[in-house]
Symmetry: C2
């Protein structure tokens, strides 16, 4: 990782996290439910999504408090999806980011409900933002609703489940990840553009960047599942192969997956060249995403 | 039920349902997910919440298409909560409205995801409404987020779960139902007031009406669980007693619960007298809610 990107991440993650915890802790509710919601939010993670919101706002020279608020909402949606994903009836995972999963600590019922409450909360947070115009707030809510729901993340999870019972072809596999991982990354990048009042051309270039970043992110995830260790990843490595899951390496071989990763990396970098502003920071993000080892 | 109320319900339910199905069917997503979402929406129910939205708009002489849209969003939230409530890790119910529950038909994973997708969808629908001002849409989104999440329905479900391990006192039991059932009923009634541009005084009177209607609704539910049959209710009767759950009859005896029901009914009717408009329709709703036998 470049020193500049490392500085950027180290500068923003504390703000992202403290802002997000503040937004959730100020909400009323039974203590057990709040504890369960906050446990998973505090369990860490790379905070890629809120970092993307901040990086896009910085790229347009429009850093502002709202980027942390919007970043919090997408991280909250991502976190609820992990809680539900880990449930026994879904992936049945005991370990997430090196810690026991939510339902192992709080029980399945509370894990379901904590996820539900986080899902609904994120939209209320967007609606309550004070320093963003009404039209922008409504646009962000529409985008997050689409990115999170059947047209986006949840739809992708369903396609992913279908891929556990038969080997998908490349087009189907891409469709899984465009939705499952890509939709929220796309929201993160496009929401930064909304907050920055980016032009239509810039938004289109960013949408293309986001598309390739989403696929690159997932291919690297698949590669790490094979080449990484559980300790490094903070979750059970080798699970995809063990469960015979549809992945890029399973479909293309590990070398083919790495070649595909480079293609998407290059396409993402090419899209950035069309931006009207200096895109060095977003390019460094792309490099980080495809070179990361956890 | 009065002939007038019967006419009102018969007139509006087809519109409520067709409008809601249309809003959900037009959303993209994997077929299995869409089937699961629509299965539970189409499983029927009294449609009390969207009927309340419509009844309040009619009370203010402001019937408009948007009342069906707002009614759809609260019914969608209610429906997702039923899907999750019925899961094996929650109430473990096989029967809902006389039909197999969602997870019995589609499996647990898809039931979790269908609920999640419905939850996120409802906020996008509110954000996309065309004939309602931006400020009103944002207010409705804030209200629905609060009513659905840890401060409302989901918070009430957690308190309700805690009431399964020990007998709650009356204040605690009221707190369960103010949130679990009351929050969405309150949204239904107050959203009608928002759509109708009701005055502050009228909104306060309606909030009080909603408060008592929520509690009355739940007390009658508890009474029906004892005095109704599974066939009549479309769900397993007698479950509360069998599971030793905290209920009004358990706390107050069945006679005490009926007396409490009358108190809330009277308080609801009294609140309506403060309205600046003719409240006969809402009064008939109150009578229907507390006298219903399913």
């Amino acid at each position: 990782m470049s020193a500049r990107l490392q500085d950027f991440i180290e500068e923003h993650i504390p703000n992202i996290e403290s802002h997000m915890y503040g937004l959730v802790k100020e909400v009323a509710g039974p203590q057990a439910l709040k504890d369960s919601m906050i446990y998973s939010l505090e369990a860490g993670g790379k905070r890629i999504r809120p970092l993307f919101v901040a990086a896009v706002c910085h790229t347009f020279n429009q850093p502002r408090q709202a980027m942390y608020t919007v970043g919090a909402t997408v991280e909250i949606i991502h976190t609820y999806s992990l809680i539900h994903d880990d449930l026994p009836c879904m992936d049945n995972d005991d370990l997430r980011r090196g810690k026991p999963t939510n339902h192992k600590v709080f029980g399945e019922a509370l894990a379901v409900l904590a996820g539900d409450a986080l899902n609904s909360l994120s939209f209320g947070i967007l609606a309550r933002m004070e320093d963003v115009s009404s039209e922008q707030r409504l646009e962000l809510i529409r985008m997050l609703s689409e990115g999170a729901g059947s047209e986006g993340m949840v739809g992708g999870q369903v396609l992913d489940m279908e891929g556990e019972t038969r080997q998908l072809n490349l087009e189907e596999l891409e469709n899984v990840h465009i939705n499952k991982t890509g939709a929220l990354l796309r929201f993160s990048i496009e929401s930064g553009a909304v907050l920055s009042n980016a032009t239509k051309d810039d938004r289109e270039a960013l949408a293309e960047y986001a598309h390739h970043m989403g696929l690159a992110f997932q291919i690297q995830d698949d590669i790490l599942d094979i080449e990484g260790t559980s300790e490094q990843l903070g979750k059970t490595a080798g699970k995809d192969v063990a469960s015979d899951k549809s992945t890029y390496p399973a479909l293309l071989t590990i070398e083919g997956a790495k070649s595909k990763l480079e293609d998407h990396y290059q396409a993402a970098v090419d899209a950035l060249k069309r931006l009207s502003v200096d895109s060095a920071l977003l390019q460094e993000f792309a490099t980080y995403i495809v070179r990361r080892n956890k």
